[in-house]
Subunit: 339 residues, 2 copies
DNA sequence: TTGAAAGCGCTAACAA
DNA sequence: TTGTTAGCGCTTTCAA
């Protein structure tokens, strides 16, 4: 037999009707079948090397067996561990991942979500949400089960799984205050991302707790990139030379801070302390090693996948937000302010 | 109409038979249809927002519309850009990527390849090949079109797309020789990967060209990781204290070299020069900035995808190996040997 | 050029 | 518990 065996081949060999074979091979009850029949069918299937055709099954059951995973840019080092976490959990549940990279382009986001829907994905895990993302907002009101990771829209209707940035930023501010810093500035990421808003709010809150009299110094970077961090920091140093510590929106921005400090002839941490966020690979090995907040990326991915599975099974109600614990990592880029 | 529109809905609205509608919507000839009919059908489809059901089409045409992408560990920084390159090209051609991460476990490779085949992937792009990988060897003799990236089996029957490591290693050795190094050692990656073999052979050849009298010093690291590099280098320094330059199997190993040198109280590059391979993100910012070989990761992915497309179309014959140009990147970790 | 009919492989509904 | 029948939505013969 050249073609791959079908359920009819299995049924024939087992001497039963295809429907019976199908039922016998279905692990979930309750169209229950005699143990004997089940054994016969299983044996025939094994002997033939039968694998059900997912396409045909899919057409009949309306379940495609895969999930779309939409990322803004896989090259961003926070994403791969998250995607791995997603992928590991989904495969284990028999779902495959259709990977879609939007290249940070909103129109691609729309097109890809559309395409994934057309391909009958059972659900979506979306890491591309901007605060006003139209495509994501559409999902919130559609019928396609969706879980957001890391980033969310302002609407906040879809379930989100992310790191507990607020806690991390709080710990970071505490750390800097304990070191004796009076003037702590925040160089944020782009304003259209919820991560920026979340971290900035946490920064303001923490600062208000420790330095109630102080007007917070906040500068908005144009992107989560080294050049954006560099430029914003340069501006900051010009406007506020009294700053002794900078809390960066993420690690890339922190590295931009390093550059701006070097440009200004300042040394980190002796003149200015710098802290990042995410604990990207290798930031422990740059000079000086970066103090930062580690987020449980793999767990975030895994939790997002599990949340989607829950959504798909429709069983338990799903938590609207899961913020997983972050960890302060103190390294060489923060130290006491010079006097 | 709650359910999504089918070809029958379109046909009905256009006043034609479903088969006619199907033909009208098929851009590829030649069951040609009147311009008028085509227009009517297109209009009806547009008005209904019709999207053909890929599952049903797939069942009929035996083409699933996706490709499996098998990676050893997405967390390895060389991979994300490659996967992006693959993904970009495939989406553009209407194919989706099923992402499968083997976590570097051979048994998972077998299982995932099996699963991808069962899901009727049209082809595979595989980045997990070890030299003796049974699953990949099976693909070479099967009917599932497959392209390898970066790593290949010893069999060498499947088409491969990779960086031209040999050229990069050659340039690196030339660079070190020009700096005046007499004793250049090679700390490799694991022996079961073809990349290791390729780079080692290039190292030996280049060294033979420049230092014909010299027996090459080569140490095999256990893995492409920092600890493996550290351990192998420690051993090397003990056995061959006369070495003044180390060519590492990749950047991670090079960073391991840094550690071993620090352990031994040696400074890079003053006591020993170190060079890596791959130009991973941030290695330009470690201390000292790493001299390395950049590989065109995105292009490798894109070329692999294009090769698979060629294989699928069956049109042009496909090159068995495509080695894309690499670039020597000289930074601070290499310098003249001390006298 | 279009319509009719059939069937991809599977499973859900209904009968026995 | 098992068999029968039908049909998921599409495309591809074959006829007209």
């Amino acid at each position: 037999m050249a073609r791959r065996p079908t359920i009819r081949d299995v049924a024939e060999r087992a001497g039963v009707h295809p429907a019976t074979a199908s039922r016998a091979l279905d692990p979930t009850q309750p169209g229950r079948i005699t143990a004997a029949t089940t054994r016969k069918v299983a044996r025939a299937a094994r002997e033939l090397g039968y694998r059900p055709d997912p396409t045909a099954r899919s057409l009949r059951t309306r379940r495609s067996g895969f999930v779309g995973v939409v990322v803004p840019d896989l090259t961003n080092p926070v994403l791969p561990p998250i995607v791995r976490g997603i992928e590991a959990v989904l495969w284990e549940s028999g779902l495959a991942c259709l990977l879609a990279d939007t290249d940070n382009r909103p129109e691609r986001e729309t097109a890809l979500v559309d395409e994934l829907r057309a391909r009958r994905c059972e659900g979506l895990i979306v890491a591309t949400a901007t605060r006003t993302s139209a495509a994501v907002a559409g999902l919130a009101h559609g019928d396609l089960p969706t879980v957001l990771v890391t980033r969310e829209t302002d609407e906040r209707t879809l379930p989100l799984v992310a790191g507990d940035d607020a806690h991390g930023v709080e710990a970071l501010v505490g750390h800097l205050v304990k070191l004796g810093h009076e003037r702590i500035a925040h160089v944020t990421g782009p304003l259209d991302l919820s991560t920026t808003v979340r971290r900035e709010a946490a920064f303001r809150a923490a600062l208000a707790a420790h330095r109630p009299a102080q007007e917070p110094v906040v500068l908005h970077g144009a992107a989560f990139t080294i050049p954006a961090g560099r430029q914003a920091t340069a501006e900051l140093l010009r406007a506020r030379p009294d700053v002794t510590a900078i809390l960066a929106g993420n690690d890339m921005i922190a590295l931009g801070c390093y550059e701006a400090l070097a440009d200004a002839g300042l040394r980190c941490p002796w003149d200015v302390s710098v802290a990042g966020h995410n604990d990207m690979p290798l930031v422990s090995r740059v000079s000086p090693p970066l103090t930062t907040v580690a987020i449980p990326q793999h767990d975030i991915g895994a939790a997002a996948a599990r949340t989607l599975l829950a959504l798909l099974s429709g069983a338990a109600p799903v938590a609207r937000r899961q913020l997983l614990p972050t960890t302060l990592i103190v390294r060489g880029s923060t130290g006491p302010p010079k006097r």
